[in-house]
Symmetry: C2
Subunit: 194 residues, 2 copies
């Protein structure tokens, strides 16, 4: 008999918590809410997690680790800067589509991390932003991009992909692939006719 290892309880708790945090916010979600979704009493969850804070911590840093890894990978590929930026945009959208609730939590609820970890998180994020902005600046220097303010370009891009979570429902008129293509067109070619 082949065993299908079902995910350990801890992971189920983290997943359900992410969904609830996304919908109701960290402060708006109680341990009893999460427990109800998992099918367990609130107190029982403490056999699997240390605290509510730790749930948030786990979700946020798992996502931020993925982002950092993505960036480092893309930086080392032999691509033009345009291609590198495209690759990063695609990774953002893919992660959002595959791991929506967790990404959403990492984007919105990170600020409720306890103090020490909060600075660690913002440091990681700034590092990511710095690396991404450097790619844009290099692309400008290489003549691939227009001479825009790299910071503005960076945040326009990050913002545009970040909000996919709000209005993308899988299986609706647009596929994830088409969504990617359209967003990339919009960001790299612009709205106006050339």
């Amino acid at each position: 008999m082949t065993k299908i290892a079902k995910p350990p309880k801890r992971q189920i708790i983290l997943e359900e918590a992410a969904k609830l945090f996304k919908d109701k916010g960290y402060g708006g979600t109680s341990m009893r809410d999460i427990a109800g979704q998992v099918g367990m009493e609130a107190a029982s969850m403490y056999n699997h997690i240390k605290s509510k804070d730790e749930i948030l911590d786990s979700i946020c840093f798992r996502i931020s680790d993925v982002y950092i890894a993505h960036l480092q990978e893309v930086e080392q590929l032999p691509l033009t800067f345009g291609e590198k930026v495209r690759a990063l945009i695609r990774l953002h959208i893919q992660l959002m589509v595959e791991d929506g609730p967790a990404v959403s939590v990492a984007n919105h609820d990170w600020k409720y991390l306890p103090n020490a970890r909060l600075t660690e998180f913002t440091t990681a994020r700034r590092q990511y932003e710095k690396g991404f902005a450097a790619l844009i600046a290099a692309g400008i220097a290489a003549g691939e991009f227009q001479t825009v303010n790299p910071t503005v370009a960076l945040f326009t891009i990050l913002s545009a992909v970040r909000w996919v979570e709000l209005w993308f429902q899988p299986g609706r008129s647009l596929s994830a692939q088409e969504l990617e293509d359209h967003i990339i067109t919009m960001l790299l070619k612009g709205l106006e006719q050339r």
Copy 2:
């Protein structure tokens, strides 16, 4: 003696509440937090407001009313579609810069509105989005814009301006005017060299 009418207490409460909601979220902000910022006991605020819900309601609908009014105004101006879209983007950024905390609350905490008002709010927002998307679609039909998916274009734009709150600090290297110009360039011309 000239009297400088200082704002009534209700308005002060709404402003301080908006700042706190922005920083700590609706659920994360207690009535006592707000009262502390205003310089008053929590119970005393009930002479000026009806409930915590009503504070959120006031903030959210004041902002959504402004957006709707903006749109209707721009729709009736004799401008090209490109100019209309530019005008709306500018209005978004200006409102964000002038009324940051309230805009932020209307963007993030609207989901905590009590049920009846929540549907009213989302209806208003959908109406705004529909009108904005129609301008984009008309611009495409008129040959002013590239043939992009209007919905994707709309949300890319809304997202890009929405996140100004996160990283724009007045008096930093970029002025509000420059910020506007750069974002509009990015969205209408695109990042890549033509």
